[in-house]
C-alpha cells in the first residue's frame, strides 16, 4: 500500500480570466488531518472540488492509494470513498434528514412484492443507528428547514459516513458555528481521525489548524507556497505565508471615549412578513464614539434590528430615537438625512445597483441634491469628480475606474465602495451588518480600520456580525441576541468569547 492515500500532482485549473490552481502538488497520508490554508480566491475550494469530481483538472494527475484516477462527477469520487461537506450545504430543505442522507443510494424494497420502492423506514433506522455510533445525534424524520445550522452540518457529516467515505473534505466548516459548536465539531473530527479516516480541512482560520491539524498546506493566488507540520509552525508564520507579507494582528485601537447618546432603541418589536415577532422587546443605546456590536447565531433577529432602524422594516411597537428625535415612523430618506448610514448585509441586493457604473453607485446618496443635480437635471461632471475622489480615498480597485460596472468588480471592492459612500455622509450613526463577510484579509483590514476611524471621529456605530472574532476585536460594548431578544449587554472587556458564545446558544446565566 502506498504511503499516501491521496496524491494530487502538478494540478493546473483555469477559469475564464483566472488561473485557480497553478501547478499544485499535495500528498496526503492515511489517517491524518491535512489543512489547506489560504485567503478567499487562493484556490483551496477549487482544488478540493477537483478531488471531489466537481471539476476536472486541465493538467495534472490525481492518485488514490497510488493508483491514477479520473473523476468525471462526484459519483466517481464517491466510488473511491471520498466525501465532502461543502461550505454551502447541499441539502434539500423540505426533505427529512434521512431522505437527504440516503438521496441517490436509498435502501429499496418491493411494494406488493413487485414494484421497487424506497424503504424510508429502513433508512430512518439506519440513520438513527449511524448517528448514535458517531455521537452525532439527529432525529432522522425532522425536516432540514426546521433544524439549526449546526444540525445541518451533522447531516452532511452523516451523509459522508453513510456513503462509507474514508477521505473526508470539510470546506470552511466552522464559518457558521458558535465557539461551543466549533469545539464539538473539532472533537468529532478528532474521533473520525481515531477511526482511521483521512480528513482534509479547508479553512482560513489559523487557530483551528493549530488545534486539530497535523500538516498544513498554504496556498496563495493559486500557487502552493509551502507544506508545514503544524506543530513546528506559529500562527504568525502561517498568516505571513498566507497573505504574502507581514500581517499585523493587533488593530491599533485607541481607548474609546463615549459622548452623549445618539441612538436609543426602546422596547422595539419587529414582525416579519409572516407576522411573526422576529425582534422582541429590544432595548439598547449607542453613544457617540462607541462601537456597539450585536453578536448572535445567524437568523436570530439581528438583521431585522438593523433593517428596522434604517427604515427597511416597520416597527410594530416601541420607539427608535436618533439624537433625541423620534424616528419610529419616518421614511428611509428622512432617516438617512437625519444622519443614519447603512451598510447592509446583502451588499449586492441592497447595497449597490449591480448594473450601474461605480460612478453612479457612489452618488446614490447624493444624486438628488445640489450640487449633484439642479432643477431635476443630473450633473454628471460632479458625479465623475466625486467618484474619482472616493476611488482614491477608499482604494476601490476596478477594471476601468469610475465607469466600471459594479457587477464586474470583486466583492471586496464592492464593499469598499459601499463603505466609502456611506462614510462620506459623515453620519451620526453608521450601521454595519456583516461588513467583512466573504472578504479576504486585506479588504477586512481596510474595512476594520475605517470602522475604527469613524468611531474615533465621533460617530455612533452599530455593528452586527456573525464573526465572533470580528466582534471581539472591534466592539466597545457587546449585546448578545438569541431568538429575537437581547439576553445580555456588557462592556467588551468584561466578556470572553466563550461567555458570548454561551449567550448565543440561549443560556441565560453564563
Amino acid at each position: 500500500m502506498s504511503e499516501y492515500i491521496v496524491e494530487m500532482c502538478h494540478i493546473t485549473k483555469r477559469f475564464p480570466g483566472i488561473v485557480a490552481n497553478d501547478d499544485v502538488t499535495i500528498r496526503i497520508r492515511r489517517g491524518e488531518v491535512y489543512a489547506l490554508l489560504g485567503e478567499n480566491g487562493a484556490g483551496k475550494s477549487t482544488l478540493m472540488s477537483m478531488l471531489f469530481g466537481m471539476y476536472e483538472p486541465d493538467r495534472g494527475d490525481i492518485l488514490i492509494n497510488g493508483r491514477k484516477v479520473t473523476f468525471h462527477s462526484s459519483t466517481d469520487a464517491a466510488a473511491e470513498n471520498i466525501g465532502m461537506v461543502h461550505q454551502h450545504f447541499k441539502l434539500v430543505d423540505n426533505y427529512t434528514i434521512a431522505e437527504n442522507i440516503v438521496l441517490g443510494t436509498e435502501p429499496m424494497k418491493k411494494l406488493l412484492g413487485l414494484f421497487p420502492s424506497v424503504d424510508m423506514k429502513k433508512a430512518n433506522e439506519e440513520i438513527s443507528e449511524l448517528s448514535k455510533r458517531y455521537g452525532l445525534e439527529v432525529n432522522p424524520t425532522d425536516r432540514i428547514e426546521d433544524v439549526p445550522v449546526s444540525v445541518r452540518q451533522r447531516v452532511e457529516i452523516l451523509k459522508m459516513l453513510y456513503r462509507k467515505a474514508e477521505i473526508m473534505i470539510f470546506d470552511e466548516p466552522t464559518a457558521v458555528l458558535t465557539p461551543q459548536e466549533i469545539d464539538f465539531l473539532l472533537s468529532i473530527i478528532d474521533s473520525l481521525r481515531k477511526d482511521g479516516k483521512t480528513i482534509i480541512l479547508i479553512t482560513h482560520k489559523m487557530e483551528e489548524i493549530k488545534r486539530i491539524a497535523d500538516r498544513c498546506a498554504i496556498l496563495r493566488r493559486g500557487k502552493l507556497i509551502d507544506v508545514r507540520p503544524v506543530a513546528d509552525t506559529s500562527i504568525q508564520e502561517m498568516a505571513n505565508m498566507m497573505v504574502g507579507r507581514q500581517v499585523n494582528f493587533k488593530q491599533d485601537k485607541k481607548a474609546a471615549s463615549f459622548g452623549e447618546t445618539i441612538l436609543s432603541v426602546n422596547h422595539m418589536t419587529v414582525k416579519n412578513e409572516h407576522h411573526f415577532d422576529v425582534v422582541k422587546d429590544v432595548t439598547f443605546e449607542v453613544r457617540k464614539g462607541e462601537i456597539f456590536a450585536i453578536a448572535g447565531v445567524s437568523g436570530n433577529g439581528q438583521t431585522e434590528i438593523a433593517d428596522a432602524i434604517a427604515g427597511l422594516m416597520k416597527i410594530s411597537s416601541g420607539t427608535v430615537t436618533l439624537d433625541g428625535k423620534d424616528m419610529t415612523d419616518t421614511s428611509i430618506r428622512v432617516r438617512a438625512q437625519s444622519g443614519i448610514s447603512y451598510i447592509p448585509e446583502d451588499r449586492q441586493g441592497t447595497g449597490v445597483v449591480m448594473d450601474f457604473t461605480l460612478r453612479d453607485n457612489l452618488a446614490l446618496r447624493k444624486y438628488y441634491r445640489e450640487p449633484f443635480s439642479g432643477n431635476g437635471i443630473l450633473n454628471f461632471e460632479m458625479f465623475k469628480g466625486y467618484a474619482d475622489k472616493l476611488i482614491e480615498r477608499y482604494d476601490i480597485r476596478s477594471g476601468e475606474g469610475a465607469k466600471t460596472f459594479v457587477r464586474s468588480m470583486s466583492g471586496g471592492n464592492q464593499q469598499k465602495a459601499i463603505v466609502g459612500r456611506e462614510i462620506e455622509e459623515h453620519a451620526k450613526l453608521i450601521i454595519f451588518v456583516q461588513p467583512t463577510r466573504g472578504l479576504d484579509i486585506g479588504a477586512i483590514e481596510n474595512i476594520h480600520s475605517h470602522i475604527l476611524a469613524e468611531r474615533d471621529r465621533g460617530a455612533a456605530i452599530l455593528l452586527i456580525s456573525l464573526e465572533l472574532d470580528e466582534i471581539m476585536k472591534l466592539a466597545d460594548t457587546i449585546g448578545v441576541i438569541y431568538s429575537g431578544r437581547i439576553l445580555k449587554i456588557a462592556p467588551a472587556d468584561e466578556m470572553s468569547s466563550e461567555d458570548v458564545g454561551r449567550y448565543m446558544m440561549g443560556v441565560k446565566e453564563a
Binding site: S73, S74, V92, D93, N100, G104, F115, P116, V118
Partner: protein, 319 residues
C-alpha cells in the same frame, strides 16, 4: 344531476393528466407555461394519426382512439424537447420559452392541419374530423344516487388516465427516480453532490410533461369537440397549471382541485340549462372555473410552496 357528475369527470380527467405533467416539469425545476402548447401539438399528432388510420381501419374503429392517444403522447413528448432544449441546454428564461412554445404550437398546428386536409381529404378545412368515442356505464356503481353519475357514460380514456395518474404518483413519491426529481426542483446542487444527473432528470421530466399533456389534449379533442382544430387552444393548459398551483404541486390535492374545476364547469352548464336561459348565457356560466380560479388564488396562494429551484437554469460550473 347525474349529468353534472358525468361531464364533470370527463372534463376533470384530461385536465388532471395535464396538471400531473405540469407537476413533473416544475418539481424537477423547470417552470412550465408550455402545457397549452404541448397539449395542442400532441393532440394534433394524435388527430393526424387517427385520420390516417381511419382510412385504413374504418371510421368506427375504437382501436384508432387508443393509437391516437399513443400518438399524442409521442407528439407531445417530442414537442416538449423544444422547451427542454431552450430551458435546460441553452438556459433560456423558462417563462419566455413557455410562451414562445405555446405561440409556435398554435401556428404550426394551424398550418399543418390545413396542409394535411389538402393532402389527405382534398378539402380546405382547418379541422381534422375524429371519430366518436364509445362510452360505457359501470354496472352497480352507476346506480348510486347522484355520485353514480361518475360511473355513467364514461369514456374509456378516463380509465386509462386514472391508471396513468396512479402510476405517475407512484413514480414521483415512491421511487428513487421520483426522489431525485423532486430534489432537482428544490436544490439541484444537492442532487449533483449526491451523484445525480440534474440535466438528464429534468429532460425526462419535461418530456413526461409533454407526453401527458398530449394525452390530455387528444382526450379533450374527443370528448369536447370530436375534431381537432385550433380551437383546442381554449386555455385548458393554463387551467391545468392553475390546478397545479392550488394543488400545491402535489398530485393528490391537484386531483381534488381538477375534480372541483370539472364539477364547477359541468354544474354551471347544467344550471344554465335548468334555468332555461338563452344559450349565449352559457358562456357566462362556463366562466365559473376561471372565477373560481381567481377566488382560490386570493385565499390559497399565500400558503403555497412552489419548488424552490423552479425557473433557475442549472449551471454545474457556476461558482
Amino acid at each position: 344531476m347525474t349529468k353534472v357528475f358525468t361531464d364533470g369527470l370527463s372534463f376533470a380527467m384530461p385536465l388532471l393528466i395535464m396538471a400531473v405533467g405540469a407537476i413533473y416539469s416544475e418539481k424537477s425545476g423547470v417552470t412550465n407555461l408550455a402545457i397549452e402548447g404541448f397539449q395542442g401539438f400532441g393532440a394534433f399528432i394524435g388527430a393526424l394519426l387517427a385520420v390516417l388510420l381511419m382510412n385504413v381501419m374504418g371510421e368506427g374503429s375504437q382501436a384508432v382512439i387508443y393509437l391516437a392517444m399513443l400518438g399524442a403522447a409521442v407528439g407531445g413528448g417530442v414537442y416538449a424537447c423544444l422547451h427542454a432544449l431552450l430551458c435546460i441546454k441553452f438556459r433560456a428564461n423558462q417563462v419566455i420559452s413557455g410562451v414562445v412554445v405555446n405561440i409556435l404550437a398554435v401556428a404550426l398546428t394551424t398550418f399543418f392541419t390545413s396542409a394535411a386536409n389538402t393532402a389527405i381529404n382534398k378539402t380546405l378545412s382547418n379541422k381534422l374530423i375524429l371519430g366518436v368515442s364509445k362510452r360505457f356505464t359501470v354496472p352497480v356503481l352507476s346506480k348510486i344516487p347522484a355520485v353514480g353519475g361518475f360511473f355513467t357514460n364514461m369514456y374509456p380514456f378516463e380509465l386509462i388516465i386514472i391508471v396513468l395518474v396512479i402510476f405517475f404518483w407512484y413514480l414521483m413519491y415512491r421511487t428513487r427516480f421520483g426522489m431525485m426529481l423532486r430534489a432537482c426542483g428544490e436544490n439541484p446542487q444537492a442532487v449533483d453532490a449526491a451523484g445525480g444527473d440534474v440535466e438528464k432528470t429534468r429532460w425526462i421530466a419535461v418530456i413526461i410533461s409533454g407526453a401527458l399533456s398530449g394525452i390530455g389534449g387528444i382526450c379533450f379533442a374527443y370528448s369536447l369537440l370530436a375534431n381537432f382544430s385550433p380551437s383546442i387552444y381554449l386555455g385548458y393548459g393554463y387551467l391545468a397549471i392553475a390546478a397545479m398551483i392550488f394543488g400545491n404541486w402535489n398530485i393528490n390535492t391537484t386531483a381534488l382541485v381538477c375534480l372541483i374545476f370539472g364539477l364547477a364547469k359541468s354544474g354551471g352548464y347544467q344550471l344554465c340549462i335548468a334555468m332555461k336561459l338563452p344559450s349565449n348565457y352559457s358562456d357566462l356560466f362556463l366562466m365559473l372555473p376561471y372565477v373560481l380560479t381567481m377566488l382560490l388564488l386570493i385565499f390559497f396562494s399565500k400558503k403555497n410552496h412552489p419548488p424552490k429551484a423552479a425557473g433557475e437554469p442549472w449551471d454545474k460550473g457556476k461558482r
